[in-house]
């Protein structure tokens, strides 16, 4: 019996070796994992259990030039739901009944993939006390649903200045790819249009972060670390809330006025007021307008459709910088300055207006707006005062004959066809047409490619193919008032620090310095003053306390009623403000746009604002 030990000695040794080998292999492996690569695994464990949740910084406020708030923030009680609730039919039905929203709308909001995974989705903003109380009492029936306080934009003045301010919304996937939005994540609220968009980088602020520990199913357990958000900076705009309000009301009154004059298609209008010495924009109005509050917490599909419908007149567009119009007789001052500069006319040079102008040949005849008998013998000065087309046909025809597109080149010096560079998104440059443009534009229509005398003649009275924005018109009149220097229009005045002290102050900047003689500016100035005293603008400015230099315009647009224009600056002796007003399909400039300009100038100059009835049938 005892010999098995001797015989099997090697076998016991082998078993011992196997045991040692097993424990040895495990030990080596543990050494390599725990001691050599321990840090990597610690990082993986941290990554497992820690989640970073961002806390939005309050956006900076937007103030008017006097410090009156235009956009602020307010806390809102929002009903939010975790992303996982989208598959819980019963829960969605209960929510639908409680909130009075339909199930599909709730599901759409909850399943938004545009949000970071852990951020709960906003289902409803500004929940009523009843809803909040009900949710608190019936917590168990609404798993994943809670009430949170979220910051929302507040508009203390309602829709006033909506186009300048712009609206905010969730960042789009297209935006996130832009270099401007580096560091943003899906779900962030950003400025979409207007000042909110333009000054996004200062308004946004720095997010705060909260590191939370979660368990294996993602339930938060506790807060590990917290960094407070840094609020965005307040900005001060050059806008004067009172002037802005008056400008918007003046446009509404002008539309009513147009309707009572039987121009029943009038639905849209725009106005701009700038400081001629600094380029500061004091008011910028565009009708129809919209309510920026519709965008809070995400605009509904129905509202979005309504605001973008074909027959809506596109209320989201800021017509002052984005709409293009023929500027009609308001452009005569530029044609006039070009004529004076090139010596083809002078203040008292005499012209003959018979109502019909056949200088380019019988078959190319054109009419002055005063067809019956015309203006008779008329000086250049009088041509502006009475807005005689014939005088400017002659000047324009001279430019055609001289060649070299001098009129267009000169107009570009005054900013026509060029961006003013205003600090608002979406500005368009307009069009100052020339032969090259026409050939390219009509490349598929060989018979229309040639630049004709009539093309230049049409430009000379602000018609034909020329197009400009109301802002360009206001800027050019501001340039006339400011000794020929056009300041860059801007809406930002200051950026404030957290103490309310300015950290950035906008300095006036010259945008265009056209080649012009002070004497020639004086010729135009005298004529523009006479317009409101005895000419086409006299009716609108009867009894006005300040002397105003202005010009009416009535633009022909194919297939539409005439567009009414008025451009002006005041006070005439020491000009401070320039204004441009356009009423789409409003009829005559003197009778519809003129009174609106008068009201805006009243507000600018601190005069009592009164609406006057004016009659003028000139163009």
């Amino acid at each position: 019996m005892l010999d098995f030990r001797q015989h099997l000695k090697g076998r016991y040794a082998a078993l011992a070796m196997i045991v040692l080998a097993i424990l040895g292999i495990l030990l080596v492996r543990l050494w390599s994992m725990q001691v050599l690569s321990g840090d990597d695994y610690v990082a993986m464990a941290e990554n497992n259990r820690l989640r970073e949740i961002s806390i939005d910084a309050p956006r900076g406020r937007i103030l008017d030039r006097n410090g009156t708030p235009l956009v602020t923030n307010r806390p809102s009680l929002a009903v939010v739901a975790a992303a996982g609730t989208k598959d819980d039919e019963e829960l969605l039905n209960r929510l639908s009944a409680l909130l009075g929203m339909n199930v599909e709308e709730i599901r759409e909001r909850v399943s938004s993939v545009k949000e970071a995974a852990l951020r709960p989705r906003v289902v409803m903003i500004d929940a009523s006390k009843e809803i909040v109380a009900y949710l608190a009492e019936h917590e168990a029936e609404f798993p994943g649903v809670e009430v949170q306080v979220i910051p929302l934009r507040e508009y203390p003045n309602g829709q006033v200045a909506a186009h300048i301010l712009g609206y905010t919304g969730e960042i789009s996937e297209a935006q996130i790819a832009e270099p401007d939005f580096e560091g943003y994540v899906l779900g962030d609220t950003v400025g979409k249009t207007g000042a909110e968009r333009q000054f996004e980088s200062v308004l946004q602020g720095d997010k705060g972060y909260r590191r939370i520990e979660v368990d294996a199913v993602g339930r938060p357990r506790n807060i590990v670390e917290e960094t407070d958000p840094v609020p965005g900076r307040d900005i001060v705009l050059t806008i004067d809330l009172e002037v802005q309000r008056v400008a918007e009301e003046a446009l509404m009154l002008a539309l009513e006025e147009a309707h009572s004059d039987d121009f029943t298609s009038a639905r849209a209008a725009a106005a701009v007021a700038v400081d001629v010495q600094t380029g500061e924009v004091l008011a910028m109005a565009s009708l129809p307008t919209y309510d920026p509050q519709l965008f809070l917490g995400g605009i509904s599909a129905a509202d979005w459709e309504r605001l973008n419908a074909k027959d809506s007149e596109y209320p989201l567009n800021n017509r002052a910088t984005m709409a293009l119009y023929p500027t009609a007789s308001t452009f005569k001052v530029i044609t006039g300055l070009a004529g004076l500069t090139y010596g083809t006319t002078s203040e008292w040079k005499m012209y003959r207006c018979d109502g019909r102008w056949t200088e380019m040949g019988e078959q190319w005849s054109k009419y002055c707006w005063k067809r019956a008998g015309g203006h008779g013998a008329v000086s250049f000065h009088r041509g502006i005062v009475d807005s005689c087309d014939t005088v400017f046909y002659e000047i324009g025809y001279d430019f055609y004959k001289q060649g070299d597109e001098k009129l267009q080149k000169y107009a570009r010096q005054w900013g026509y066809g060029e961006l003013t560079g205003i600090d608002l998104p979406g500005e368009v440059s307009g069009r100052m047409p020339d032969a090259a443009w026409k050939a390219a534009f009509n490349r598929n229509y060989p018979e229309f490619r040639t630049w004709l005398p009539g093309d230049t003649v049409n430009i000379s009275i602000g018609q034909g193919d020329m197009l400009a924005t109301p802002l360009q018109v206001a800027a050019s009149y501001a340039g006339i008032a400011n000794d020929g220097r056009i300041m860059r229009p801007h809406v930002l005045k200051q950026v404030l620090d957290s103490q309310g002290e300015p950290v950035i102050e906008m300095k006036p900047e010259v945008a265009f310095s056209p080649d012009v003689d002070p004497g020639h500016l004086a010729v135009i100035h005298r004529a523009l003053v006479a317009v409101t005293q005895e000419g086409t603008g006299a009716s609108a400015f009867r009894g006005f306390e300040a002397k105003v230099a202005g010009k009416t315009g009535t633009a022909e647009v194919a297939g539409k009623d005439d567009y009414a224009w008025f451009a002006a600056y005041a006070p005439a002796a020491e000009p401070r403000y320039a204004v441009a007003v356009v009423i789409e399909q409003g009829g005559h400039g003197g009778s519809v746009a003129g009174p609106a300009a008068r009201e805006i100038l009243s507000a600018l100059l601190g005069l009592p604002v009164e609406h006057v009835k004016a009659t003028d049938v000139s163009r």
Partner: protein, 381 residues
């Protein structure tokens, strides 16, 4: 031979009892830590202590019984073993967990897993059979007989189906055949068969499934476990998830661990089965490399002491029982710790003396009692 003839000193084996006592103490601390954050964790800890208590009673009983009496009971033991393994199949008594019908249940209360005590019974059977060859196993006929007897419990356990426990049976038998004198050429032949078999297993299984139109041999989850072992990124939220989370837990323990009760992987539920199969992951995370080395050190003392008992046995039968227990523990440690660190495929094998689970605890303590029984009746020098 009566025990106690030479007094208490002959009865006692201090290194064995101390290493086992330290292991169950260590295990209790880890089970307490792992279950403290779990729903119903307090109750689990008391169940663990109850299993320990019962286990020590059985340890003493096995110590006192003369193991050599079992040598003549091969036939009845084979029947007992088969009954144990089949008992969960008795209608009204069995329960299925994780795909295997391996629990005895009465009136909805899970009692124990008969496959755990079946390991001990298998050890005794195989020891009795192998001891008959007196340390020389050469003839194919003899090998066939031994394998045939192993095939009874192994086949039944694979039908549950419980691949992991089946592998334990194989490991036990191989260890005992090593000490029992099986010629080396046979081990080489077994090794080649296993390598070839594994190489052909999956293709053959796929072929069988395709012919029958359903899972015939390997279940889908078993296949997954095998495949995940090859490539753990294969299914990070499914079968590979357990392995990945376990490795993160152990690795992040570093040299000295996150501190007892402070492991985030365990406490935040990233670790599955953390009080049973993955108890070592909790230990690795909370006590680090030092804690793991201490555990492996205790196993070393346990198994070397058991080997000493095996060598000192008065007969080959007792020596083989000890060799079987060593093989069982060594394999379970290798498999359980190995799977938590990605060295072995994931199976549901508990870590001896450590994992929560009374069936395994009682079995291991009773096995310790058998070792003491062999020791107490050792040869006289």
């Amino acid at each position: 031979m009566r025990i106690g003839d030479d007094g208490f000193r002959r009865l006692m084996n201090v290194p064995l009892l101390v290493s086992v006592a330290l292991l169950v103490l260590y295990g209790s601390v880890m089970v307490q830590s792992a279950t403290s954050g779990m729903a119903g964790g307090g109750g689990m800890f008391y169940r663990h202590l109850f299993g320990l208590g019962l286990g020590f009673v059985l340890l003493v009983v096995a110590w006192l019984i003369d193991y050599s009496k079992f040598a003549g009971w091969i036939g009845p033991l084979i029947f007992l073993n088969a009954f144990l393994i089949l008992s969960p199949r008795i209608p009204g008594l069995g329960a299925t967990a994780k795909g295997a019908t391996s629990w005895l249940e009465i009136a909805g209360v899970r009692l124990f897993q008969p496959s755990e005590p079946a390991k001990l019974v298998t050890i005794v059977i195989m020891a009795a059979v192998i001891a008959q060859y007196k340390g020389r196993i050469e003839q194919p006929r003899d090998v066939a007989k031994i394998l045939g007897i192993l095939a009874i419990p192994l086949g039944l356990i694979l039908l549950q189906p419980d691949l992991g426990t089946g592998l334990v049976f194989v490991a036990i038998t191989m260890g005992m055949l090593l000490v029992g004198g099986l010629k080396v050429k046979w081990f080489v032949a077994f090794g080649l068969t296993v390598v070839l078999g594994l190489g052909l297993l999956l293709p053959i299984d796929a072929g069988l499934d395709a012919m029958a139109g359903k899972d015939v041999a390997l279940k889908e989850y078993q296949k997954n476990r095998l495949l995940v072992f090859v490539d753990s990124s294969r299914d990070p939220k499914g079968a590979g998830y357990n392995l990945a989370q376990s490795k993160i837990a152990i690795g992040s323990g570093g040299l000295s661990g996150q501190g007892l009760g402070s492991g985030t992987q365990g406490n935040l539920n990233f670790l599955p089965e953390r009080h049973t199969d993955f108890i070592f992951s909790v230990l690795g995370e909370e006590l680090g490399f030092l804690g793991a080395a201490l555990l492996l050190g205790l196993y070393l003392v346990l198994m070397i002491t058991a080997l000493e008992i095996s060598v000192q046995s008065k007969d080959l039968f007792g020596s083989l029982i000890a060799a079987g227990l060593i093989s069982m523990w060594a394999f379970q440690v290798l498999e359980n710790v190995g799977m938590t660190i990605g060295l072995m495929p994931i199976t549901g094998i508990p870590l001896p003396f450590m994992s929560f689970g009374s069936s395994a605890m009682i079995t291991n303590l009773a096995g310790t009692g058998m070792l003491l029984s062999v020791w107490a009746r050792r040869r006289r020098t």
